[in-house]
Structure formats: structure tokens, C-alpha cells
């Protein structure tokens, strides 16, 4: 028993259950004592809130902060003794590499879960008529599919940035290792609360949680709000940490325009995540209180305005897609030169284009509301700002094309995924203006065309680059490389499956198939296309299963790869794999440009200096 309780995750889970009971009991007791009618909803909400805090307390993430508040000395995060082996990954660790792997594990877990939700409702949609889901469960599943995968994507980009950013800027760890651990762990109870909404009757709103429906629907929506709220804190604090790390921890000689391009991408993403995420938290919080206390923010019957919710919500939720894709596009720009053995074309422009997308991304939110009855004079300005996003994105595409041009391409698995990312993001990009233009959007809004377009941007901008990054940095984490054969199977199955799925969705969308419906009229003739889309969805799921098998098998049986496997210039490949504790034993000094591949006589990007800390130092 004591041995089991020494695992932080288990302590946390137990504490979460206890916390839920305490919160629920407390509110019920208060209601009984004051003689009010017993209502379950406030009890569940308070219980849910306390349960998440209990998880973190039980885990022990607050211990050091409590000690600091008491005025006790706490050790440097680097010097904290941590359990060895796999147990390290199931409790609090301050090592950015461990946290990166924890993020990746949570991300893949949520990816499998959110994807399975999609498979369930895709089976329902394969035929007209209602087969085995109820309307409410169907709606809950599409909502959870959306939000669980958003959480998965947020965890995925955190995985990449946590593991890779300190390594590629030559740092020993993140700027705030304790906060880093907190940012990861606060997402775990958040994700649990999200899924717990299924047990409280689900919710009918989809992932957007629009009032007035969310004010009136079943109680599960409250757990959904709470879950998003906690996952949002993970995103905000992680972003804060990454910005500080990139500003402060770069190695000697790494000026801003000698940073790896991924650092630029993560920096701009983090600025969006740091600021805009507050708005989704606030908008959901307002609905939560509207349900609890009857506050009239969004209910027109009480003088509220539901359009306000959409403004607040999309102020985050549109920039959110740039939070998702900017690191992905950064991965493409980062890895492409390695695999085509040429310098990245237009480094400064690419670096600035991430900022351009981030900046313009703040000014486009109302294009989600063209058909919502919003103030009419806002439509055209938001149309123009939306189309403006194509300019910095185009810069990236030109850079990629020019980088590939006449390169000596090495078609290894990560490169395949990079090509897939570019092609599919192009598909997602060129189907966008039709939705960004008011006149055409009014016809295509709320159809499967939107679904197809959105999934193309997410797969091109996040999923494919994320998989490329997994194949690329997996040897850095484990010291073994993943099977190329399985990797290529994974790629082709995913690429073809996704293309069929996405193009099929766009096609039936333009022909009039509405989104977010559990049933459709067979006379519309969408039975066969829907069946094909469902089958393609299963192909996508199968390909991800191949990835899991590949990761699991290669961890033990993969071909050992401890050196500079991809012949990269980046600092992380100049040290052995798996990455040693505290990364670099000495100082990293930048001596050249990051992407000077294939240039005769170009100086190396970095020089690793001998270890100075462990050798005796002259007294000063």
C-alpha cells in the first residue's frame, strides 16, 4: 500500500475522488442547514473545482511552494532527487525532458480517446437514420471529440516545446521548472473533469458551448467548463514559462536572429496562448455562474446578449488555431533543411511570418459569426482581416518551396510527414477564403465543408508535423529509432485516409450536408459518401494504431541510434542520445547560422565547451 501511494499519480487520483466527495458534501450540508431546496448542480460544480485542487495537493505539486511561503529553503530544481526509471514519469518531476515525455504521453492518450469518440459517431453517420446513439449522446460525443482533441493538441505542442526548446537553445532546463511541472499536472485533473461530463448527462452544445443552449442543457456542461478552465491554466502558465525561457535562457552568442525557427514559432504561439486563453476561461466562467446564480449575461430573457459570448469565446478560439498550427509550421521549417540539405530560404521572413500570423490572428475572430446575427458593420472589416492571414502564411509556403527546390531530398519517415503536412495544409489553406468571404460563407456555414476545411488545417498544421517531430526526436528520447517500414505504412495510410475523409466532407458539405446532426434524409443521397468518410476515418485510426505499435516496439527492439542520426547542425544532436541529465555538460556557444546545410566552409552552428562547473575553479 505504501509503495502504491508513493506514486504521485495514484495519490492524486485518490485525492481527486475524496475532494469531489468533500465539495459535494459541503454544499449539500450548507443547503440542508440553510433550509434551501437541495440542488445537485452547485454541489457538483464545487466538488469538481475542489477535486482538481485536491488532485494537485495529493500529487504534492504544492509542497515546495508551501515551504517557500513558510520561508524555508528549497533546493534548486536541478538538485532535487527523483526516483529512477519509469516511476519518474508517474509523479512530479522538474526535469523538462521528463515533463516533455509526460505531455507527449497525455497528448497521445487524449488523441486516442478523442479519435475514438469520432469513430463512434462516424459509425452512427455511416447510414441515414438513428441507429444506436441518442441525440444527446451524439451531441456530447461531438463536443467531447472537439474539446478532448483540443486538449490533446495543446498537450502535444507543449510536449514538443518542453522537450525540444531548452535543447535547441542550448539551455539546461526551462526558466521555471516548478511552474513547468505544475502546468503539466494541472491539465490532468482538467482532462478528467472534461470526460466526467459524460457521467453527468453530457451536454448538447458541441465544443463551442454557446448560450442560451448551454444555460439550459444538462448539467454535464458544467464539468466541461471546469475541465476547459483547468486545461486553460496549463496552457497559460506553460506559455509564460516558454516565453521567459526563450528570452532568458538562450546560449551564448544566440541573438534573436540566430535562434532556431522553432523557437520563433513557439514564442509567437506562446504570446497568443498567454493572453487570449483568458477569454475562453472568462466566457465559460460567465456561463458557469449564469447557470449557478442566475446571472443574466447571455440570456435575452434577462436582458443579456448571447452574441457577447461569441465575441469573448472566439477572441480565444480563433487565435487558438494559430496556437495549434504555428508550432507545427515551425517544425516543418525547422526540419525541412535537415532533410533537403539546404539552408532555410528567407530565415528572417519566416521568423517574422509567425509573428505576423499571431498578430493578425487577434483581429479575425468575428469571421466565425458572419451568420450569427452580429453587428452588420463588422462583417466586411473582419472579412478583410481574415484574408490578410494568407499573406504571412504564404511567406511560409514560398520559403518551403524554395527550400525544397533543387535540394537533395532524403525521403525518410519524418520527411514524408513534412511533405504530407505541406500538401494538406495547402489544402486547408486554399479552402479557407471561401469561408472567410462573407458572401460565400453565408452558404457554406454550418455545413460539412467547414468540417473538411478545419480538419485539413489541423492535420496539415498540427497532426502531420507532430508525427514528423515524433519520428525525428524519438531517438533523442529513447536512444533507439522507430521502424522506418512501419513508419511509411503509417504515413501512407494516414495520408490517403485523411485525403479521402477531408475531400469527402468538403464535397457533401458543398452539396448541402449540415454539420452537427445525428441523422439525415436518405433522399439527399449522402449515404455512400458518408459510408466512405467513415471508412476513411477508420483508416486514419488504424494508422495511428500503427504509430502506437511502432513506438512501443521500438522502445525496446528499435535499432540503436545514439549519435547524430539525421546529421543535424542543431545542438541537441551534438550530445549523445538519450539526452544526458541536465543536457549539456558545459556551455554551448553559437558560432554560425542554424541552417547552413550543404554550404562549403560554413562554420558549425554551435560549439560545445568543456565542462566548467565540475572542475575546480579559481577562487575569485
Amino acid at each position: 500500500m505504501k509503495k502504491i501511494l508513493s506514486i504521485g499519480m495514484i495519490r492524486g487520483l485518490l485525492a481527486q475522488v475524496v475532494g469531489m466527495a468533500i465539495g459535494f458534501g459541503l454544499v449539500t450540508l450548507l443547503q440542508t442547514l440553510t433550509g434551501q431546496p437541495l440542488k445537485a448542480e452547485p454541489a457538483w460544480v464545487v466538488g469538481g473545482f475542489i477535486s482538481a485542487l485536491s488532485f494537485l495537493t495529493g500529487l504534492g505539486i504544492f509542497n515546495d511552494w508551501f515551504r517557500m511561503a513558510r520561508g524555508d529553503e528549497v533546493p534548486e530544481p536541478e538538485e532535487v532527487e527523483e526516483p529512477r526509471g519509469l516511476r519518474r514519469y508517474w509523479g512530479v518531476s522538474y526535469d523538462h525532458k521528463v515533463i516533455g515525455v509526460q505531455y507527449a504521453f497525455l497528448s497521445l492518450f487524449l488523441l486516442a480517446m478523442g479519435g475514438s469518440f469520432a469513430l463512434i459517431f462516424r459509425v452512427e453517420l455511416a447510414q441515414a437514420g438513428l441507429q444506436f446513439l441518442s441525440f444527446n449522446l451524439f451531441n456530447t460525443l461531438i463536443g467531447l471529440h472537439g474539446m478532448v482533441l483540443i486538449a490533446s493538441i495543446l498537450m502535444g505542442i507543449s510536449a514538443i516545446s518542453n522537450y525540444v526548446i531548452p535543447l535547441i537553445i542550448g539551455a539546461r532546463d526551462m526558466a521555471f521548472p516548478r511552474l513547468n511541472a505544475f502546468s503539466f499536472w494541472v491539465a490532468v485533473p482538467g482532462a478528467l473533469l472534461l470526460v466526467f461530463s459524460l457521467a453527468l448527462g453530457g451536454f448538447e452544445t458541441g465544443w463551442t458551448g454557446y448560450p442560451p443552449l448551454s444555460v439550459r442543457g444538462p448539467m454535464g456542461v458544467q464539468m466541461f467548463f471546469l475541465g476547459v478552465w483547468f486545461v486553460g491554466w496549463s496552457s497559460i502558465l506553460g506559455a509564460l514559462n516558454l516565453i521567459t525561457t526563450i528570452l532568458r535562457m538562450r546560449s551564448k552568442g544566440m541573438g534573436y536572429f540566430r535562434m532556431p525557427i522553432l523557437a520563433w514559432a513557439v514564442l509567437s504561439t506562446s504570446i497568443i496562448a498567454l493572453t487570449a486563453t483568458q477569454m475562453i476561461g472568462l466566457s465559460f466562467q460567465l456561463v458557469l455562474f449564469e447557470r449557478l446564480l442566475g446571472m443574466g449575461f447571455f440570456d435575452p430573457a434577462q436582458g443579456g446578449n448571447p452574441i457577447l459570448f461569441q465575441h469573448l469565446f472566439w477572441f480565444y478560439s480563433h487565435p487558438a488555431v494559430y496556437i495549434f498550427v504555428l508550432p507545427g509550421l515551425g517544425v516543418v521549417s525547422e526540419l525541412l533543411p535537415v532533410f533537403v540539405r539546404k539552408p532555410l530560404f528567407g530565415y528572417r521572413w519566416v521568423a517574422m511570418s509567425s509573428f505576423g500570423i499571431g498578430l493578425v490572428g487577434f483581429l479575425v475572430w468575428a469571421h466565425h459569426m458572419f451568420a450569427a446575427g452580429m453587428e452588420e458593420y463588422l462583417r466586411v472589416p473582419f472579412m478583410y482581416s481574415t484574408l490578410l492571414v494568407a499573406v504571412p502564411t504564404g511567406v511560409k509556403f514560398f520559403s518551403w518551396t524554395a527550400t525544397i527546390w533543387q535540394g537533395r531530398m532524403r525521403l525518410q519517415t519524418p520527411m514524408l510527414f513534412l511533405i504530407g503536412a505541406i500538401v494538406i495544409f495547402l489544402l486547408g489553406g486554399i479552402t479557407g477564403p471561401l469561408l472567410g468571404t462573407v458572401s460565400t460563407d453565408l452558404h457554406a456555414t454550418d455545413t460539412y465543408y467547414v468540417v473538411g476545411h478545419f480538419h485539413a488545417t489541423m492535420f496539415g498544421g498540427y497532426v502531420f508535423p507532430f508525427f514528423a517531430a515524433l519520428y525525428y526526436w524519438y531517438p533523442k528520447i529513447t536512444g533507439r529509432r522507430m521502424s522506418e517500414r512501419l513508419g511509411k505504412w503509417h504515413f501512407w495510410l494516414l495520408f490517403i485516409g485523411f485525403m479521402v475523409m477531408s475531400l469527402g466532407q468538403m464535397r457533401i458539405g458543398l452539396l448541402g450536408m449540415r454539420r452537427r446532426i445525428a441523422d439525415y434524409d436518405p433522399a439527399l443521397g449522402f449515404q455512400l459518401p458518408n459510408l466512405i468518410i467513415t471508412l476513411a476515418g477508420f483508416a486514419v485510426a488504424l494508422s495511428v494504431l500503427l504509430l502506437f505499435i511502432n513506438m512501443f516496439r521500438s522502445a525496446r527492439k528499435g535499432e540503436p541510434a545514439t549519435g547524430n542520426l539525421w546529421e543535424s547542425r542543431s545542438p541537441e544532436w551534438q550530445i549523445p542520445s538519450p539526452t544526458p541529465a541536465h543536457n549539456f555538460s558545459g556551455e554551448v556557444v553559437v558560432t554560425g547560422d542554424p541552417y547552413d546545410y550543404g554550404l562549403e566552409g560554413a562554420p558549425g552552428y554551435v560549439r560545445l565547451e568543456a565542462d566548467l562547473t565540475h572542475s575546480p575553479q579559481p577562487a575569485d
Partner: protein, 193 residues
């Protein structure tokens, strides 16, 4: 942090960490400011040029109390940076008491005197949410002050090392600045309804 630890890496030196932590705090404040900005947007979107009908006298009193508390917060920080422990303790204590006074004024007096509840239309929703969120931040600030007061009494801060005091002070000023926007938005701008 004893003196005999030789040759700290620059990344571990107090001065280096201090600058890093300052960036972290300001980023947090920037992030939090967006939340308060969202509340202001909510207020103007729902109420426009109307405002909740509130007691002007109480509003003026609590606003003055909070502004004066910021003055003493600043005194506390200046005292500790000059090594004046007693002045630091006194000023922190006054700041804390003024903060608690502000909370009592808003939650204990203003909330009771208001002739509408949170469920009474948009003005109720806006008023209670804005003052509630702000009061929550004042409360966390008071807790932060209690921590530095306790550690200050134990002599943990010196003229050179008082990052916790600086952080608490900046956070306190931030919450004060938020009120400088909230006070006119709730009490002064528009016609009372």
C-alpha cells in the same frame, strides 16, 4: 544560500534569477489583464451608457482606501530596499489592513446595500462579477501580503534580497490599477438605472 558555496553558475545567481522572475511576473500580469479587459468589454457590451445604481459615497470611500493602500505598499518596498525592517513591517501591515478594509467595504457594505442581486438583469450580473473577480484578486493579494509579513517578521528579507516583497507589491499595484478602470466603469460612466 550560505556564503561558502563557491562559484555558482551564472544561471543560479540571485541577480540573474531576479531578472528572470521579473519577466515571469509581468507576463502573468499581462495575461491577467486580458481577463479584466474581457470583463470591461462585457460591461460596456451589455450596459452601454447605463450603469448600475450604486451608493456613490461607499464607492468613493473604498476607492480611496485602495488607492491609499498602494501608497503604503510602495513605502513598504522602499523601506525594505533601504534595509529598514521596522518601516517595512509597519507599512505592510497598514497595506494589509487597508486591503481588508476595501474587501469589507465592497463585499460587506456595497453588496448588502445594492438594491439588486446577481440574478437581477445584466446590471446585477455585471456588477457582482466585476467586483467579485476584483475582490478575489484583492483577497489573494492580502494572502500574499500576510506571507511576506510573516517572513518579514522572521527577518527573511534584506535590502539586497526581497524578491517576494517586490512581487507582492507589483501584484498589489496591478490590482489597484484594475480598480482605477473598474471604478469609473461601474460608478461614474453613464446614466444610473
Amino acid at each position: 544560500m550560505s556564503a561558502e558555496v563557491p562559484a555558482l553558475k551564472p544561471a543560479h545567481s540571485y541577480a540573474y534569477k531576479l531578472r528572470t522572475q521579473r519577466i515571469g511576473l509581468w507576463l502573468f500580469i499581462l495575461s491577467d489583464a486580458f481577463m479584466f479587459g474581457g470583463l470591461l468589454v462585457t460591461r460596456f457590451y451589455l450596459l452601454g451608457n447605463r450603469r448600475p445604481d450604486l451608493d456613490q459615497f461607499v464607492g468613493l470611500i473604498v476607492t480611496s482606501v485602495l488607492l491609499i493602500s498602494s501608497f503604503f505598499m510602495n513605502r513598504a518596498e522602499v523601506h525594505i530596499s533601504q534595509g529598514n525592517q521596522r518601516g517595512f513591517i509597519t507599512s505592510t501591515l497598514i497595506t494589509m489592513l487597508l486591503g481588508i478594509g476595501f474587501l469589507a467595504g465592497v463585499i460587506g457594505v456595497e453588496w448588502r446595500m445594492a438594491h439588486f442581486g446577481p440574478a437581477d438583469g445584466p446590471q446585477g450580473a455585471v456588477f457582482y462579477m466585476m467586483t467579485g473577480m476584483h475582490a478575489f484578486h484583492v483577497l489573494t493579494g492580502v494572502i500574499f501580503l500576510a506571507i511576506i509579513l510573516r517572513n518579514g517578521l522572521k527577518g527573511h528579507y534584506s535590502a539586497e534580497r526581497h524578491w517576494a516583497v517586490e512581487a507582492a507589491a507589483n501584484y498589489w499595484h496591478f490590482v489597484d490599477v484594475v480598480w482605477i478602470f473598474f471604478y469609473p466603469a461601474l460608478y461614474l460612466i453613464g446614466m444610473a438605472i
